[in-house]
């Protein structure tokens, strides 16, 4: 009986549904990545919904409500000027996300162009570009960013540009490496043997296959970028307006009251840490789920 029942059950073959649906299925099975995903979704949600969710405006001051501890009225307490910290942290997420994502996208574009030129053309172009990249990589990231802001002046765009230039070499290197490996791969040679042009080889056959590590790296670098943005803000190189609810800038103010009102540092620092951890976990998860060799 049981045997009949068992064999009668229709066997559902596990059909592969392409790279991305496979990857997302694997991602959802990966616990840490899932945690990261939840954190990031929250982070992005908060950033977008800040004007709606925040109980107060980021610049709204209240006389007599200075340095209040967390409570029912002010979830994260207030700062020296009586501004609601919860609202400011939410708006801070907006700034970090905006600056971080734009900066990383800029880095990805710059690095992508340099990497494709180097890996695609090879020869002397490759040598010149890669030695330049080596020089940039030799300078510690935050120092390079400080130098760039010192050179270009303070401002949101300059901040993004500084972060972008700091991370572009990493993408350039990564992409060039993948392209070099792909150039010798069987299917690229096969496509060449069938008469594909150099541009087509690069655009259709090599770049799409080199994308995965870039996506993973971009996610991981977003985490570092958020920390760097806060770091630059802390050093007074953040947004030109000191009132801007930027996490790093907020920390500078809060530092003076570390003993009397530690909640400010705690919540701002916590926000930085949590978002960075979120991107890190997600990045690691993406790496595992996008790598077909780890396919289970």
């Amino acid at each position: 009986m049981t045997i009949v029942a068992r064999t009668a059950r229709p066997i559902e073959a596990r059909v592969s549904r392409g790279l991305w649906s496979d990857a997302s299925r694997r991602l959802l099975r990966n616990k840490p990545a899932l945690v990261g995903l939840v954190l990031i979704v929250t982070f992005i949600g908060v950033a977008f919904l800040a004007p709606l969710v925040a109980p107060y405006g980021p610049y709204e001051q209240r006389v007599g409500g200075s340095l209040e501890p967390p409570g029912a009225a002010h979830l994260f307490g207030t700062d020296l000027l009586g501004r609601d910290m919860f609202s400011r942290v939410l708006f801070g997420a907006q700034i970090s996300l905006q600056v971080g994502v734009i900066a990383v996208l800029m880095a990805l574009t710059m690095g992508g162009i340099i990497g494709s030129l180097a890996g695609g053309l090879g020869g002397r172009v490759d040598s010149v570009l890669m030695r330049t990249v080596d020089v940039l990589l030799a300078i510690p990231g935050i120092l390079l960013a400080i130098g760039i802001i010192a050179w270009l002046g303070r401002g949101m765009l300059q901040l993004m540009l500084a972060i972008a230039i700091t991370y572009a070499p990493i993408f350039a290197r990564l992409l060039r490496g993948s392209l070099l490996a792909l150039r010798e791969s069987d299917y690229v040679i096969a496509a060449r043997a069938l008469g594909a042009s150099r541009a087509r080889l690069l655009a259709r056959h090599m770049l799409p296959n080199a994308l995965t590590p870039l996506i993973v790296q971009a996610t991981l670098i977003l985490a570092t970028a958020i920390i760097d943005i806060a770091g630059l803000g802390f050093l007074g190189l953040g947004p030109p307006d000191p009132r801007t609810p930027e996490w790093g800038t907020m920390l500078v103010d809060a530092r003076r009251f570390l003993q009397t009102a530690p909640h400010i540092v705690f919540f701002v620092g916590g926000a930085i840490v949590v978002s960075a951890i979120g991107f890190n976990l997600l990045g690691d998860g993406l790496r595992e789920s996008l790598d077909p060799r780890l396919k289970r």
Binding site: L19, A191, S197
Partner: protein, 368 residues
């Protein structure tokens, strides 16, 4: 005029370890619609020869340092990059050894074939798609309409090789080069794929070069075989003639190192002792001398040229009546070829000349 005319092709690779003498003056011709087998062990230059013909040698290491390649009367080596690109795919197509890695994993089968067609022909998407379905049908992929959107990893190895064949034949090239087309496949699939290749090229009048290390693969398929060793063609003959009358010691050795199911039980396998010569050294003498049981004194110093086996025969370089030619100073007799060893009374392979310390030669000496 031959479809493909390769004369004195010399290919070298400049590496950190020195210069690799990969192909050392190879000449052969191919008529339209002819099938040719290129046989030899790994590293003998058979693949490099064909990559050179298509100008696909890895840059900057691989260089064509001499010779001439005429395809349809056009000098391939003098062409500009864009002219060669026109040639590839449209006139000469190539199938590679490993179907598992020769298709782009991120593009669907449809995208890859349609792209190949449209790279060379003005054709609408819909027409190219229609042709793709016909091609897939032709190579025996069941339900081609439903498989168009499939990715390479959703196909088995044999099916992928069929897709590769469909892609290669998409533009009805005049010459198809198949580089070890069945090595990565199951034995049961091998015959099917070879069959398909043979049938389609015959139907379409496409000339075919099959590169292989396995004489069994080319036995029933090609009209002619070139046996290559260390960057030289050492024997060339129509396929039946080659199997009936193998005449170069290397060919004889190859045939005696393949187990035969039908032969008598005590049939002895005679391995070819030693290893191929170090390709980093410019060849002196016959490249096979160190491993050869028939070698003479002069084999060490004088590289024999390709000569008709029957002296005075009229030279025919292509087709089923091609002249049987070998490059050997002391070819084995028919009996010796049959036995796989020299039978002449008192004959001993000539020792390596003084000053030349050749471990391989000594190994062969010790063995005989």
């Amino acid at each position: 005029m031959a479809l493909l005319d390769v004369q004195d092709l010399v290919v070298r690779f400049r590496t950190h370890d020195g210069t690799i003498h990969a192909v050392n003056g190879v000449s052969f011709e191919l008529e339209a619609g002819e099938t040719l087998g290129l046989v030899g062990e790994s590293g003998c230059g058979k693949s490099v020869t064909n990559l050179a013909i298509m100008r696909l040698l890895p840059k900057p290491a691989g260089r064509i340092e001499g010779g001439r390649v005429l395809f349809d009367g056009l000098d391939v080596l003098a062409m500009s990059e864009s002219e060669v690109r026109d040639l590839r795919g449209k006139e000469i197509a190539m199938i590679f050894q490993d179907p598992m890695t020769s298709l782009n994993p991120v593009l669907t089968i449809e995208e890859q074939i349609v792209e190949t067609i449209r790279a060379h022909r003005r054709m609408s998407m819909a027409d190219a798609r229609k042709q793709t379905i016909q091609l897939l049908e032709m190579v025996g992929i069941p339900g081609p309409e439903d498989r168009l959107k499939s990715f390479p990893h959703q196909f088995s190895g044999g099916m992928r090789q069929r897709v590769m064949i469909a892609m290669a034949l998409a533009l009805e090239p005049k010459l198809l080069v198949a580089d070890e087309p069945t090595t990565a496949l199951d034995v049961t699939i091998q015959a099917q794929v070879l069959d398909l290749l043979g049938r389609l090229t015959t139907e379409g009048g496409t000339a075919l070069i099959i590169i292989t290390h396995d004489l069994g693969v080319v036995a029933g398929m090609t009209q002619r075989i070139n046996v290559m060793y260390a960057g030289f063609i050492v024997e060339t003959a129509p396929t039946d003639e080659l199997f009936a009358r193998p005449s170069h010691p290397y060919t004889v050795g190859l045939l005696h190192s393949i187990p035969k199911v039908t032969e008598r039980e005590d049939e002895e396998l005679i391995p070819i002792e030693g290893r191929p010569p170090d390709m980093r050294e410019a060849p002196v003498g016959c490249p096979f001398a160190a491993r050869c049981a028939w070698r003479l004194e002069q084999c060490w110093t004088e590289n024999p040229v390709l000569r008709p086996l029957d002296a005075g025969a009229r030279l025919v370089t292509t087709g089923p009546k091609a002249t049987h030619r070998i490059a050997c100073h002391n070819p084995p007799t028919a009996d010796e070829a049959h036995e796989g060893r020299p039978l002449r009374a008192g004959f001993r392979a000539a020792p390596a000349p003084a000053g030349r310390i050749d471990e391989l030669a000594m190994a062969v000496e010790a063995g005989t």
